[in-house]
């Protein structure tokens, strides 16, 4: 009985508390950089696409809203197309977690409503940004074994020069 009265009293006191609601859109809330909003594709420090079309984001996606096709240009893998169906996306961030190259990143932007659902299908041109996003220095090809223009075999981090198969040195 007292508990009920106390509950009523405490609820009543809330009448005099400050509102926690932020008056969006007049007031923009603070969103941390790790907020999981609109997905972008980033570029490496050289300005090349970071995405290597490994398909791991698509595989990790629980709602299967990512689709891409691998292409290859001078040894570099890249996505020929990269589609995200944001009308399905649940912004779980698994894609970002799965990405081995820091290419796909979620940003603190959530203002992407559309009146036409079709407009929620983002193509690569809509996703690709011109910067490296949250991970400034990283370039996947600097640590992978593939040779690409400007980085021959043995020039990646922790790589010895290519073996001379004719050598008999022990």
């Amino acid at each position: 009985m007292l508990g009920i009265i106390r509950t009523i009293w405490l609820s009543f006191l809330h009448l005099f508390h400050k509102n926690v609601t932020v008056q969006y859109p007049e007031v923009k809330p603070y969103l941390s950089p790790r907020y999981r909003g609109r997905i972008v594709l980033t570029r490496d420090p050289n300005g090349e696409e970071r995405c290597v079309a490994c398909n791991l984001c698509a595989a990790a996606c629980p709602v299967d809203c990512i689709s891409l096709q691998k292409g290859e240009r001078e040894g570099r893998w890249y996505p020929e197309f990269f589609q995200i169906n944001f009308s399905r996306c649940i912004f779980c961030g698994f894609c970002e977690e799965a990405c081995p190259t820091y290419a796909i990143q979620l940003t603190p932007d959530f203002e992407m409503s559309e009146y036409v659902r079709q407009n929620l299908v983002y193509e690569k041109k809509d996703l690709l940004i011109s910067g490296p996003g949250k991970v400034p220095g990283y370039s996947f090809y600097n640590i992978s074994g593939l040779a690409i223009p400007g980085k021959d075999k043995g020039e990646a981090e922790h790589e010895a020069p290519p073996v001379d198969t004719h050598s008999l040195m022990p």
Binding site: L10, F12, L15, N19, V20
Partner: protein, 319 residues
């Protein structure tokens, strides 16, 4: 009373009640917001006041769908019965000494109870004619709950009636010139208030509409303005209970300095707010708990109240 004044009073009461019912939806949403540390609806019009109008327009323009499996005439009549019953009850409420449709009626209270009894039909017919198991379950719950609590409600009032010596509400208000009945009749007042909540099936006693278990209870199948009538009837019922409590226990219009109408409105308004506070604060009991509470606690209490009041009156009369 001259006839034109009577018409003005009647029309004024009807539209007043409608306005109060509509605005109390707004009041409820704003207050719930405040109780939960948020602003509530504040986008439509100044302070969100036009939200009421927006809701009304939405309600009116919704498709009025009658389920093909429903019993159509009954389905149609049910909300009207409920709404009218509440509306007619207001005739007995003495808002001020001069503003009352039939506040002097010598069977005023009995009339109110009669109308509340009719309200049960609205619910049971609505639920039954929907041919929907959720609706039927809701209606069953509502019927049992309303009939039970009407008993305690009536019994709890006997003290007031005995003390005032009249069933006419204006007489009862007059009888509180010196002391509000809430003080001598505190037990009865509490029982009446609780029974009033159950009667209007407001939270926490909204088991007939318990949305998490019954969809929307007896009005699951209702849409558009038919649903609107149930909806308005609920809020009008809330206002009726608040008005009744004001008139029966809080001295009605009586109060110093300010004009009587202000006193009545202020008292009723605070009670409405209290209704809403209860909704915020209390969880819904289980159905058996509700019934047990009624029959095992409220009934003895109200009987006790009647007994004590009667004894005191007899003793005082004897003295």
């Amino acid at each position: 009373m001259v006839w034109w004044w009577a018409i003005i009073v009647i029309l004024g009461t009807v539209f007043g009640v409608l306005a109060v019912a509509a605005l109390s939806t707004m009041l409820e949403r704003r207050l719930l917001g405040f109780f939960q540390d948020r602003p509530g609806p504040n986008r439509v019009g100044p302070f969100g006041l036009l939200q009421v109008a927006a809701d009304a327009i939405k309600m009116l323009f919704k498709q009025d769908w009658i389920p093909p499996f429903a019993d159509k005439p009954v389905f149609f009549i049910a909300p009207i019965i409920g709404f009218l019953a509440v509306l007619i009850s207001f005739a007995m409420i003495p808002i001020t000494p001069s503003w009352s449709v039939a506040g002097h009626l010598n069977v005023g209270l009995l009339w109110v109870f009669g109308m509340m009894g009719l309200h049960v039909y609205s619910v049971v017919l609505g639920g039954w004619s929907s041919n929907n198991k959720f609706a039927l379950l809701g209606a069953m719950r509502a019927t049992a709950q309303m009939i039970s609590y009407e008993v305690f409600m009536g019994l709890s009032l006997l003290g007031v009636v005995m003390t005032a010596g009249s069933f006419a509400l204006s007489d009862i208000v007059e009888a509180q010139k010196h002391v509000w009945f809430v003080i001598p009749q505190c037990l009865g007042a509490v029982v009446f208030f609780i029974a009033g909540i159950a009667e209007t099936h407001r939270l926490p006693f909204d088991l007939p509409e318990g949305e998490n278990e019954l969809g929307a209870g007896y009005h699951t199948e209702y849409s558009s303005m038919k649903f609107g009538m149930f909806f308005l009837a609920e809020y009008a019922g809330m206002a009726l209970i608040a008005s009744l409590v004001t008139a029966l226990y809080l001295g009605g219009w009586s109060g110093p300095i300010l004009p009587p109408v202000v006193w009545f409105v202020v008292k009723a308004f605070l009670l409405l707010c209290f209704f809403i506070l209860l909704r915020t604060a209390l969880p819904r009991p289980r159905y058996d708990q509700l019934m047990a509470f009624g029959w095992k606690v409220l009934l003895p209490l109200s009987l006790l109240n009647t007994l004590v009041t009667g004894a005191v009156l007899l003793l005082r009369a004897g003295a």
